[in-house]
C-alpha cells in the first residue's frame, strides 16, 4: 500500500496546464520522494502521496475559488521562487539574526531558518525536567512516532493547494509537547526567518498541550532582508481537556514576501485558547484559523490587528466550529489600511445541531485612510442549534472627523491627533496581551508603524529591539 510513487507515474497524471511553480513542485515531489519520506512514519508517507495527488488536481488556489476571490497570488505562481529543502547548518554568528527579542521579557527562543528548525545538533530535540519536549518536528517524529501517529496531520482541512502541498512536502518545523498538568512558566517564542533570496518553504509546526497544561507562545515571522519569498506554513495545535494556550503572532515581513499562515486548533472540553495576531508589514499575508471546539465548555478568544499600507495585502480567514455544547467564542479583528493596501476578512461561525448554549460573537472593524485602500469583509453564520447567542458585524469607515476636530481644538496638531485616534482604535486588540513586557513592546511597534518608521527602515522591517531610539510619540497609552 505504501509503495513509493515513481516520478514517471506522477508526470503521466499531469492533465491541466500548470504555473511554473506548480510544475516545479510536482517534479520536485516525484524526484525527491524517497529522500523526503526517508524518516517518515507510515502514515505520513501515505499522507504525502494523497496530498500530492490532490495538489495535482487542484494546483494552487486561484481567484475563481470563493475563498480566494480577493487574494491574488498569481505573481508568485509565475515567479521564479526556488524550493528550499536543505537544513541550514548551524553557525553561531548566524543566531544574531534572530533579533526580534522583546525587551524585559523572558522567553525561550525557538529559531526556524529557511523552513527548518535551527539549532546546534545536540539541541535538535530537548526534553526538559518537567517532560516538555521542544525541537525539530522531523526529529520528534523519529523519536516519538506514537505522537506522530496520534496527532500529525489530523486536523488541518486539506481544502486547497497550499495545505495539500504542505502535507506532501512537509520537511520540518517546530514540535512542542507539554505533558498533562504542566504549566510552562517561560513564554516560548518561535522566530521564523528566511535569509536567502527567492525561497519558497513549507513549514509545519505541531503543538500539543496535555490535560490541564498551560503555555504562552509567541510566534514571529520576520524578514531580515528585502528578498522575495513564500512561506507556506501549517500549524496544528491540540488543546486537551482544560488546557490553556495564549498564542501571539507577530508578522513583520518585507513587501516581497508572501506568508500563508494556516492554523488548525482542536479544543477538547474546557480548554481555553487566546490568540492575537499582529500583522504589521508584509507583501501578502493570509492568516487562516480553523478553531474546532470539539469538547464541551471550550472557550476561545481570537483577535487580529492589521496595519497595512503601500500595496500590501492582508487576508484573515477565521473559521470557528462549535461542535459541542456550552462553548464560547469571540473574534475581534481590526485593521487600518492606507495608500493602495487591500484587505480581506472572512469570518465563518458554524454551530452544530447539538451545540446548544453556544455563545459566538464576531466583529471586524476597519479604517481606510485613503480612497484607494480597500477591504472586503464578509461575516458568515451557519447555525443549526436553537439555543444559541450569536452575533456578527463588520464596519468600514474613516477616522471620526468630529473626534479629530475635538483633539485639534485642544491644540493637538493634525498628524498627532490622527495618530492618536488610530492608536486608540488599535488598542482594543493590543490591550488584551497579558504579558506586560510584550504588550509594551507591541504598543511601541504599533506606534512606530503608525508613524511610518517601520516601513522606511532600510536595514530591516522590524528591529523592535532598538531601545536607544525613543518613541517620540508623546501619548503613553500603556497607562490607559
Amino acid at each position: 500500500m505504501h509503495n513509493p510513487v515513481k516520478g514517471n507515474d506522477i508526470m503521466e497524471k499531469i492533465k491541466k496546464t500548470y504555473y511554473p511553480l506548480e510544475e516545479r513542485f510536482i517534479r520536485y515531489f516525484a524526484e525527491h520522494f524517497d529522500e523526503l519520506s526517508r524518516h517518515d512514519i507510515p502514515k505520513v508517507s501515505y499522507m504525502r502521496r494523497k496530498a500530492m495527488e490532490a495538489f495535482q488536481q487542484t494546483g494552487f488556489p486561484h481567484k475563481k475559488l470563493e475563498k480566494w476571490r480577493n487574494t491574488d497570488l498569481e505573481g508568485i505562481y509565475k515567479g521564479n521562487l526556488e524550493i528550499f529543502d536543505r537544513e541550514t547548518p548551524y553557525e553561531k554568528q548566524l543566531s544574531d539574526i534572530f533579533l526580534c527579542e522583546v525587551h524585559g521579557f523572558e522567553s525561550r527562543v525557538i529559531s526556524v531558518l529557511n523552513g527548518s528548525f535551527y539549532s546546534p545538533e545536540e539541541e535538535k530535540l530537548t526534553v526538559d525536567k518537567n517532560g516538555v519536549i521542544v525541537g525539530s518536528l522531523t526529529r520528534a517524529m523519529q523519536e516519538y512516532p506514537d505522537l506522530g501517529e496520534e496527532y500529525l496531520g489530523e486536523i488541518m482541512p486539506q481544502q486547497d493547494g497550499f495545505k495539500t502541498l504542505n502535507t506532501a512536502l512537509v520537511s520540518d518545523g517546530v514540535f512542542i509537547y507539554v505533558p498533562d498538568n504542566v504549566v510552562v512558566e517561560n513564554t516560548f517564542q518561535i522566530i521564523n526567518i528566511l535569509n536567502k533570496p527567492n525561497l519558497v518553504v513549507n513549514v509545519r509546526n505541531l503543538v500539543i498541550l496535555g490535560k490541564n497544561a498551560r503555555l504562552r507562545l509567541l510566534h514571529c515571522d520576520d524578514s531580515v532582508n528585502h528578498h522575495a519569498g513564500l512561506i507556506n506554513k501549517v500549524n496544528e495545535i491540540y488543546l486537551n481537556e482544560n488546557a490553556e494556550l495564549e498564542l501571539y503572532k507577530l508578522q513583520n515581513l518585507n513587501n516581497e514576501t508572501a506568508l500563508l499562515n494556516q492554523t488548525a486548533i482542536h479544543q477538547s472540553a474546557n480548554s481555553r485558547l487566546k490568540s492575537s495576531a499582529f500583522s504589521l508589514n508584509g507583501g501578502i499575508i493570509r492568516n487562516e484559523i480553523f478553531d474546532f471546539m470539539n469538547g464541551e465548555g471550550a472557550w476561545s478568544d481570537v483577535r487580529g490587528l492589521y496595519l497595512m499600507d503601500q500595496q500590501q495585502h492582508i487576508d484573515n480567514q477565521v473559521n470557528v466550529y462549535h461542535n459541542a455544547p456550552h462553548c464560547d467564542s469571540n473574534q475581534l479583528f481590526k485593521g487600518i489600511l492606507d495608500n493602495k493596501a487591500t484587505g480581506v476578512f472572512n469570518g465563518y461561525i458554524y454551530v452544530k445541531r447539538d451545540a446548544q448554549q453556544t455563545n459566538a460573537f464576531q466583529r471586524n472593524s476597519n479604517i481606510l485612510l485613503s480612497k484607494t485602500a480597500r477591504i472586503d469583509t464578509m461575516p458568515h453564520l451557519e447555525i443549526y442549534a436553537d439555543d444559541v447567542k450569536c452575533s456578527h458585524g463588520a464596519s468600514v469607515g474613516q477616522l471620526d472627523k468630529e473626534a479629530l476636530f475635538y483633539l485639534m481644538q485642544r491644540g493637538i496638531p493634525f498628524v498627532d491627533a490622527r495618530m492618536l485616534l488610530m492608536y486608540a482604535f488599535a488598542d482594543a486588540v493590543i490591550n488584551e496581551i497579558s504579558i506586560e513586557a510584550l504588550r509594551i513592546s507591541i504598543q511601541d511597534m504599533v506606534k512606530r508603524r503608525l508613524r511610518g518608521d517601520l516601513s522606511i527602515c532600510d536595514r530591516c522591517v522590524l528591529h523592535c529591539s532598538n531601545p536607544d531610539q525613543p518613541i517620540i510619540f508623546d501619548i503613553d497609552l500603556s497607562k490607559i
Partner: protein
Amino acid sequence: MLLNIKNLHVSIDGKEILKGLNFSVNKGEIHAIMGPNGTGKSTLAAAITGREGYEITKGEIIYKGQIINDWSPDKRANEGVFLSFQYPIEIPGVSMTNFMRTALNASRDYRKLPPVSAKDFLKKMEEKKKLVQIQSKLTNRSVNEGFSGGEKKKNEIFQMAMLEPELAILDETDSGLDIDALRIVAGGVNQLKSDENAFIVITHYQRLLDYIIPDFVHVMYDGRIVKSGGKKLAMELEEKGYEWIKEQFDA
C-alpha cells in the same frame, strides 16, 4: 482688541449661514450671544475655531491683531482660543490623562517650552479638577466615554482650566445641566475669569447669565447680530421671548 470680526460671511455646503456679522471682544469682557435656534450662533463658534466645512466667503476674523481666517484649528487653540463644545465628543481608547497631557504639551511645544513634567502635570490636574468638583480619577477613563451629560460639561470646563485660554467660547454649556451642575460650571468659569482673558457665552436662556454675569448681551438673528445691550437685554428676552425680534427684522 482681542477679537474683531468684520463683515463675516460663512457658508456650509454653499448655504450662507452668517451674513455679514460684526462683533468685537476686549480682554476682561464677558459677552453673551443669544438668539433663536438656527440663527448661526454655533456657526460663529465653528468659524472662530476653524472647523472644517465652514467656509468663510467674505470678511475677516482678527484675533490678537492677526487675520486668522486660514489658520488650522490647532494653531488657533495654541494661540489661546478654546471652545467648550455643545456636544463633547467621546473618544474611546484615549484616556483623559493622556489627552490632557498631550494637549498641554502641544501648547508648550508651540511656545517653544519643554514638556511638562509628570509631577507638575498631575499636580495641575488635581488642582483644576477641584475647580469643577470632578471626583473621579480620570486616569482610567477614556475621553467623555460613559460620562453623564453633566460630567461632560464639567469636563469641558476642566479642560479649559487646564489649558488657560485667552478667548473661551462656551457653546450652550448650560444645555442639559441641572441646577447644581450649572452652579458648578458657572463657578468654574467665574474663577477663571481675569483681566487677561475673555468669554463668549452662547446660550438660549437667561438662566446661565444669572451665574455668569455678562458685560454685553447680543442677539443673533438670520446670520447677524441684530441687537446689543447690557445684562438687561437678556432679561427682556427672557420675559418677551424672541418673537418681537423676529417681527422687527422680518418686516
